[in-house]
Amino acid sequence: MTEGVWQALLVTLQLAGVTTLILLIIGLPLAWWLSGMTSRIRPVLEALVGLPMVLPPTVLGFYLLVAFSPNNPLGQFWLKLTGSSLAFSFHGLVVASVIYSLPFVVQPLQRAFEQINRGLLEAAATLGAGPIDRFVSVVLPQTFRPLLLAASLGFAHTVGEFGVVLMIGGNIPGKTQVLSIALYDAVETQNLASAHLISGGLIGFALVLLTGLYALDYGPNRRDGR
């Protein structure tokens, strides 16, 4: 049975890793765009990004399940593209996790970007730096910690998800069975040893990660001026 736990751990780590990577790729420009936005639709967009924070995960899972169905455009498109269904697949889980964890990455990044002195970007522009150059050479170096925080939160939140996975991922060991589902299974089948292993492990992981983050945020070599 512990072999199942290791399998679930592997799936979980893969899922969280891929999700975090995609979230950074989407989240960085999205957060930057939102942070500089003055349009009146900004609150609407922020609400959309933040929605997964307040909705029961099962609601999200339900709609994703509907969207993944081959009767719907998204499901159809995916089926045509890959020949397999999105629902009950690892890819489907990645899509769901990206949406589910999006606010945890975008929000800290957006807060950090809002703190950036836009005047510095103007200075960089007059010194010959184009828009991407300005972002890489002025914004990113000043938001290194928030970036790490955002990535860690995205990762940890994906590891901790349950409801969405349950709705759309099914419970296929080695494919879509993640730790939280494996734990549920273990308890259902009275396998308390596995349940303890998973639960204890997850608590340990979360504790180490959060301690690391807080240490980073309040460490002695915290940069001046912030």
Binding site: G119, L120, A123, R223
Partner: protein, 372 residues
């Protein structure tokens, strides 16, 4: 040549500038806060985009019709009031920022998001020269957060110069500095224009600073340019907007000889003028800024007085300033000098335009003498 045709109309703000700048020397744009001078500067740099405007620099079109050259391609150095140094970089890192991008530009590779630089060592002479000139060598490895206001502004000037700008824009470069820092930076700003042969446009609200710095002066009010001319002419005019109880005048003279006791004799319109500064090269041109309140009037030549400067002038015009004071415009030969005296004194002396009067002012009241 810089050609500007800007029209901006907002409910609370208007900018209407149609002007050509010859761009020889230092051009100052002066005016009360909110008159649009900073916006004008930002438009020239490309930091602000006003539709339906035209900005041309030499043979380059910076804005016209649908064309808009972004700031990073204009090669305009911009000195901000607050320095705007990058806090995550050292002083050296800040200095190199524009230099590196400039080099990539001249290598024909546009900087597009690759922060890693593949070029060899820095252009050491240029960097060294500017670091040396600004006297910031000891600061190079320091964090910019630990610098004083004057040091920050020097680094900002160096950073802008190192990107080899075709035009240098300065927005209140001295406003955030204390007096000592101003005194140390001002000659450098003047020298910069000559030494690096870069035209300078500087925005300020402080006429004392501009009297010392600028050659040409543009006075702005409520979004348009109301007066334009040489600093000497515009500031020393009695009927201009600058004629008030803070009026000052600018005299230009040539060093004649050392007068001993640490003094130097100048010739200003063939008359003697003494300044309390020594070791000046004979034949050099010097600009002297004299506050109108420092000048007193005598009808007869007074010989036995401590006041060093007694210049014979013709009284051109008298203007009441605030009910208590009169502003006098005095003409030497060609240059003009303003004196602020009380109306009572004006009455007692029976001053009338056309009279011959002696303008007295102490050599030590000339707190600032700028080399030209």
């Amino acid at each position: 040549m810089l050609t500007i045709d800007l029209h901006l109309q907002r409910p609370d703000f208007r900018l209407e500038v149609r002007e050509q700048f010859g761009l020889a020397g230092i051009t100052a744009i002066m005016g009360p806060s909110g008159c649009g001078k900073t916006t004008l500067l930002r438009c020239i740099a490309g930091l602000e985009k006003v539709p339906n405007s035209v900005i041309r620099f030499r043979d380059q079109i910076w804005q016209e019709g649908g064309e808009f050259l972004p700031p990073e391609q204009r090669r305009v150095g911009y000195i901000f009031q607050d320095g705007r140094l990058f806090p995550h970089l050292s002083v050296l890192g800040n200095l190199q920022y524009g230099l590196q991008r400039q080099r990539r530009w001249s290598n024909g590779k546009r900087a597009l998001g690759e922060p890693e630089l593949d070029e060899p060592a820095l252009d050491e002479p240029a960097l060294d020269e500017i670091v040396d000139w600004l006297g910031i060598e000891p600061l190079l490895q320091r964090s910019v957060t630990s610098l004083s206001g004057g040091q920050r502004q020097r680094v900002a000037i160096g950073r802008a110069l190192l990107m080899a700008p075709q035009l240098l824009l300065m927005d209140e470069p001295l406003a955030a500095l204390d007096w000592a820092a101003k005194i140390s930076i001002m000659p450098r700003l003047r020298e910069l224009n000559k030494r690096f042969d870069i035209p300078v446009l500087v925005v300020s609200h402080d006429r004392g600073e501009m009297a010392r710095l600028a050659d040409e002066l543009l006075l702005m009010d409520e979004g348009s340019i109301v007066e334009r001319g040489s600093v000497r002419r515009l500031l020393s005019r009695i009927d201009g907007s600058q004629a008030d109880d803070c009026a000052l005048s600018v005299l230009e003279g040539t060093v004649v000889r050392s007068a001993g006791f640490g003094m130097t004799e100048l010739a200003v319109d063939k008359q003697q003028l003494f300044i309390d500064r020594s070791a000046l090269e004979v034949g050099k041109n010097i600009r002297v800024v004299i506050s109108a309140t420092e000048v007193s009037i005598a009808l007869d030549p007074v010989e036995r007085t401590s006041i060093q400067n007694r210049i014979q002038t013709t009284l051109d015009d008298i203007r009441d300033i605030d009910g208590h004071h009169s502003l006098l415009q005095l003409r030497l030969e060609e240059q003009k000098l303003l004196a602020l005296i009380t109306r009572r004194a004006c009455h007692q002396l029976g001053l009338m335009p056309g009279m011959l009067v002696y303008a007295h002012f102490k050599a030590s009241s000339l707190e600032d003498k700028v080399m030209l």
